[in-house]
Symmetry: C2
């Protein structure tokens, strides 16, 4: 069996997230595994994703890999998958990888982008990919707070999983906040992110942006290591996994 | 009653077009009139649109007008409408117009854009707004054909309404064909367009682009004044009304 690497783009709006779940097959992983199993004429295929996006979260370029028993050239694998996958999931690229390539363990970094709409009316054509804010937040204050989040920290207060029993230390290299017309984007780059971490960071930065928290409250939140100290989890639909890095 | 002018953006995917129809209220005009009637606490409001987009066609900025009996300021009218309209219809602007302003009779020009996806896979995030082509057409040939379409002509061969009993003479000022990455756009500006005219021009230009017609076949098609001579009607979803001009 060869190890294949996939670059995948999806609109997560109607899915229960990336990862398989017991009581539904409405997951990105499930949809892709079903098509691969059909293609290889086998019962099950195990697809490993670089991360697990939440229900409603999108991806421009998720990376995943799977061991497949097939003689099809990579381009035909890609075309086969795109023919049978629904319209909101697309395989951008398929390549052969070394047997040791593991999309999650080998990932060295990830970029996520959170998009807010700050216009006076409503967004129409990208309404499924943005979160609408009721005004323009204070970007200078958000940048101050973002500076406190940047670096290596214990992000326990920014973890949505109360039963997390592994390390909650992560390094966030950069947080870039940009306004372009009616859109405000928050781009996060780091070595890895805990469950809901990007959405809780976004929710907290927006609390600061609307002056319901002070920028240096972030220091206390990090030190406290309690989820309840941080801001709300921003809605899933504004979040998109942009890229996964490998060395 | 004051005459109000509206600038409207909509995703036409799930509608039966702009114009009211007898057996369905799933039209953009119908949705907006219902909200205006509610706002003015009256039985019916007549909204006049600058044109009638087909089922599935989108608009970035349609113009319409209506006589309304209301004391609300224009900004509150806009906000009220956006609160009650579905997510895929948005009122960008409301302004007071002179009593004589008529969005259709006073329109002096329109811009439409037809967007094709020419990438190797599938578009995900804008899949509802593009038409996918099975390859890259010959743009030079399309430009040659477009030159024959430009100018004042009898566009009877490009009219989707077989019972059209008014003039089918229109002036197309410009047709711009541009490739940007995986997208090919065809922008049309003219004084007005017949039913399906932009889609039939697009379908015909694509026939030329894929060498199933010659550029100068367009001359014969125009002269023949028969719908059957032109190419197919390109799918609705790739078409968007960009702007309506007024002097």
């Amino acid at each position: 069996m060869n190890n294949y690497r996939f670059t995948i783009s999806y609109d997560g709006s109607r899915y229960s997230g990336w990862e398989h779940q017991k009581h539904t097959d409405d997951t990105i992983q499930g949809k892709i595994e079903a098509v691969l199993a059909k293609m290889c004429d086998t019962d099950t295929v195990k697809l490993v994703g670089a991360g697990r996006t939440d229900a409603g979260v999108h991806a421009k370029a998720m990376t995943a890999n799977a061991l497949l028993d097939t003689t099809l050239p990579v381009r035909e694998i890609r075309d086969y998958m795109n023919r049978y996958l629904p319209d909101d999931i697309v395989i951008l690229e398929v390549s052969e990888a070394s047997q040791r390539f593991h999309s999650r363990y080998n990932a060295t970094g990830k970029t996520y982008c959170y998009t807010c709409y700050v216009g006076q009316t409503k967004p129409v054509f990208d309404r499924r990919y943005v979160t609408r804010l009721e005004g323009m937040p204070d970007i200078a204050a958000m940048n101050q707070a973002a500076a406190y989040l940047t670096g290596m920290h214990d992000f326990a207060s920014f973890c949505g999983n109360p039963k997390m029993n592994k390390s909650t230390v992560r390094t966030v290299d950069s947080i870039r906040i940009q306004q372009k017309g009616d859109y405000l984007t928050l781009s996060f780059h780091g070595d890895g992110f805990l469950q809901h971490m990007v959405r809780i960071m976004t929710g907290t930065l927006l609390e600061v942006g609307f002056h319901r928290m002070q920028p240096n409250d972030v220091i206390t939140i990090l030190q406290g290591k309690k989820r309840s100290l941080a801001g709300p989890t921003a809605p899933a639909q504004g979040l998109c996994l942009i890229e996964v890095d490998y060395n």
